[in-house]
Amino acid sequence: MKLTLIIVLFFPITNLAQNGHFNFHSTENKKMFADYLFCEGDYLRAVEEYESIRDLIRNDTIDFKIMYCYSEIGLFNESNNSLKRISSNSPFRWAGLHLRLKNKLIENPKGLRVFHDMPSPPDMSERRQKLILTSNLFDEEIIYEKEDFLYVFEKGEGQTISYFYDLKKNPPYKSPALAGFFSAVIPGSGKMYVGEWGDGITALLVTGLLAFLAYDNFKANHNTRAWIFTGLGSFFYAGNIYGSIASAQIFNARIDFEFRDGLNLFLQQKNYFMPEYDFCN
């Protein structure tokens, strides 16, 4: 019995043991591991593995994947530098150039008009046009007419872009000057104009109450108290005018923030109009 047990344990341990002949770190195995990490979305570790075999295997798919990984982890300079290794004959060359535009846009969200005349094959040209036109919405001013803007987009995309275009052309800003003026005429009304009703009503009540107390004390010849209430009331009144102007500015900053946020979300959903490659199936 003991002998059988020893043989049963000993046999698999010796025969199936890991031995030195199997090279876990062969180039092929590293590539397989890197591909696995890439498909899992672990771009940080994937790019490390790809970099370790980059000089051993000349492969434009690996070069493009390295560029893509760096872009995904936010190392845009490294990503752009990786483009140099993708040869001009490679089918990934145009996708690499498009990825470089994507990197530029993420790094510095503004119009990519200077790349408008870059030559490219027809299928990539359309994608690039879409990206460049959409990028113009990040600029302060849009120089294109709406028709020139929408022609390249399909129906669903077109509706979204049309919405963003209209929002850019006519943002629902509130005028800080008008908010200040309203609050000067009726305390708190500037805040109400900006949509902050609670603050507006509070400002109206506080200023009104202090004004009444000042008036009442002057009327009763309690001059010291009257002047204290007048001073306090004046500060609240002036502070409210100032605050209404500031609130309108903050409201406009919120509009700008939501616009940029929405546009970024749209571009992310479209993956910046990148061509789709199925590397994982």
Partner: protein, 155 residues
């Protein structure tokens, strides 16, 4: 229990005590830990070093308020920086007149009868984050400091 088992247990105890004993060069010491919760918005600096007359007036008002009202009344301001700190920072970032206007606006917002503070982002501790830099009327400050109400700010 046999003699061998006794030797075995003795060895285990002996080896572990001798191997993991406290050595002279690695004496255990009292851990110098602070369990005080740090919060940059709640630190009140009572130092009375002032640069000019305006600074003296500002600090006098703020310290008087902190000492006689704020410290006694408790932590009631829903904002961070608190209203008194907001006044100090506003005056530092702008000037005494603009700082006072910013403060009275903040005080009105603090008094909001409807408690409508939904437009402010929150700190992890639950306070509303409302830095004075947003109210200086400088556009570059707005672009830098504006945060949406959905954001949770680290303290």
């Amino acid at each position: 229990m046999t003699k061998n088992n006794l030797i075995f247990f003795f060895l285990i105890i002996f080896i572990s005590t001798s191997a993991f004993c406290q050595l002279d060069n690695l004496k255990w010491k009292r851990a110098d830990l602070s369990y005080e919760k740090t919060n940059k918005f709640r630190q009140k600096d009572y130092s009375f070093e002032f640069e000019d007359a305006g600074d003296f007036v500002k600090k006098s008002i703020a310290y008087t308020y902190w000492f006689f009202i704020s410290d006694v009344d408790g932590d009631n301001c829903p904002f961070r920086p608190s209203c008194s700190s907001f006044l100090m920072q506003s005056v530092e970032e702008t000037n005494i007149v603009q700082g006072m206007l910013m403060f009275f606006d903040r005080f009105t917002r603090d008094m909001n009868l409807y408690k409508g503070h939904n437009q402010y982002p929150r700190l992890k501790s639950g306070y509303y984050y409302d830095p004075p830099a947003l109210y200086t009327l400088k556009k570059q400050n707005l672009n830098f400091y504006y945060l949406p109400a959905t954001e949770v700010v680290d303290e």
